[in-house]
């Protein structure tokens, strides 16, 4: 089987659950002693699709995620992006459209998967209300805490990156 490495980054506002999603995906657990990530953390996990093993090297940046302040090198050479917002915190998705536009300009070829996280904090009615005010429709609603839909986020990104590679 062919194996190919890809750099993947997580983007989105502070405290939306980026690090938690990675932990859930890579280590199958939710990080219980919560700590704000301030610098760069790098993890990896391979997924298999279409007879190809995709070795995802996942970069996680912490601190205050005002997009313009993320160092250039964070985006450099990325093949895929997971953009995360917090369904329970409107300030984390107000600027979503502009944020994503910004990333597209930086990485015109990289697929972006949009994720609304912390689904577990909303009951069904509130979720419907939130959906109606979202500036963009996300690809997935997830809960890093409950482990809902997390795997699918990364699989979808892996698939999209293979398609670009073709």
């Amino acid at each position: 089987m062919r194996s190919i490495s890809k750099k993947v980054i997580l983007a989105g506002s502070f405290c939306v659950g980026k690090t938690s999603l990675i932990s859930r995906f890579v280590y199958s657990r939710f990080p219980f002693n919560y700590q704000t990530t301030l610098g760069v953390r790098i993890d990896k996990k391979a997924v298999e699709l279409e007879n190809t093993s995709i070795n995802m090297i996942i970069w996680d940046i912490g601190g205050e995620q005002s997009q313009a302040r993320v160092p250039e090198s964070y985006y450099l050479g990325s093949s895929g992006v997971i953009y995360v917002f917090d369904l329970s915190r409107p300030s984390s998705f107000y600027n979503m459209a502009a944020d994503i536009e910004f990333i597209r300009q930086k990485l015109p070829k990289a697929p972006i998967v949009i994720v609304g996280n912390k689904m577990d904090l909303l009951d069904e009615r509130t979720l419907e209300e939130v959906k109606s005010i979202l500036p963009l429709e996300p690809d997935f609603y997830t809960s890093a805490k409950a482990g809902a839909n997390v795997e699918n986020v990364f699989l979808k990104l892996a698939q999209a990156m293979i398609n670009v590679s073709k």
Binding site: S3, S5, K7, L38, K44, G63, R69
Partner: protein, 302 residues
């Protein structure tokens, strides 16, 4: 090399970087603000205490002026005659302490002294080798003086073991890393290090951080990272860089030769354009890199 340690050390460097983050600074400012408010409160309390003390003192003025000269005289006397009064007891106490806690003393001091000696010796040797090699370079082949040095230090006494040990150059690892993405294109490891993908990413993050912090171009690229006993030399090429992890003492001639060697390796065995970083590329580059480093080591007799 202990595989964990390189990995962990890189993590530490990255964590140092974390501290510079804006958020932390904001938080610090917030903390400082809070501290200032706390301090203000404390100052208020102290003010009250002081005015209380003042009153006490004023009431007891007479008492104070009587006692003071006695104290002053006693203190003066002690200053002059301390040795005579207590010298013997102090000496005996220390002697006894050392005698009965010999092991503890050695245990406490040993690592500190060991480290200082090692560092000093390494420093002296870097300079010394540079000197010797400057003189010898023109007259002899590079392998020559290494052999000489080795012969010179063969069979030295146990105190000098430290010296011998710290001279021993080893190329512990070498990584060929894609410049932009930090993806690992190939690697050589004399220790079967795991987590090489992560190390490649971290090195790239550290490099980028240094570049950001020092506003790049002016200072050029990061060329070495020193951490504990490791020195990581970085050679830049167009689309990738090679990071070599070394231990031991070496001088700039050694470095120049390694540069040359890696340049040659890169021109011959790493493709100019890299579309995908996949296992085929990784295996071919790694295989060549191993051969190339072994060639270099045997040339240097290391």
């Amino acid at each position: 090399m202990n595989e964990k340690s390189l990995f962990e050390q890189l993590q530490t460097i990255l964590l140092q970087e974390e501290r510079k983050s804006r958020l932390e600074i904001n938080k610090k400012v917030q903390d400082i603000k809070e501290e200032v408010t706390d301090l203000k409160d404390e100052v208020e309390v102290i003010k009250e205490d002081v005015s209380g003390l003042k009153e006490d003192y004023q009431n007891d003025e007479k008492f104070g002026s009587k006692v003071e000269p006695i104290f002053n005289n006693k203190i003066k006397d002690l200053k002059v005659n301390f040795q005579q009064y207590f010298g013997h007891e102090v000496k005996e106490t220390i002697k006894a302490e050392i005698k009965y806690s010999r092991d503890e003393f050695i245990e406490t001091l040993y690592p500190i002294i060991g480290q200082i000696v090692r560092r000093y010796v390494k420093y002296q040797f870097d300079g010394f080798l540079q000197n010797v090699s400057d003189k010898m370079e023109k007259a002899f082949s590079p392998g020559w003086y290494w052999k000489r040095m080795k012969a010179f230090f063969a069979g030295v006494s146990s105190e000098e073991l430290l010296v011998k040990e710290s001279m021993n150059i080893r190329i512990e690892e070498a990584f060929v890393i894609h410049l932009e993405s930090g993806l690992l294109i190939g690697c050589y490891s004399s220790n079967n290090t795991t987590d090489v993908d992560l190390i490649a990413g971290m090195l790239t993050a550290i490099k980028a951080f240094v570049q950001d912090a020092f506003r790049e171009k002016e200072y050029g690229e990061l060329e070495t990272i020193e951490y504990g006993k490791y020195r990581i030399l970085i050679n830049h090429f167009h689309k990738y860089y090679i990071a070599s992890v070394l231990t031991g003492v070496f001088d700039s001639h050694f470095k120049q030769n390694l540069d040359k060697h890696l340049m040659h390796f890169s021109g011959k065995h790493v493709p100019d354009s890299i579309k995908d970083v996949d296992d085929r590329l990784f295996e071919s580059v790694s295989k060549r890199l191993k051969v190339s480093i072994q060639e270099f080591e045997s040339e240097y007799n290391i």
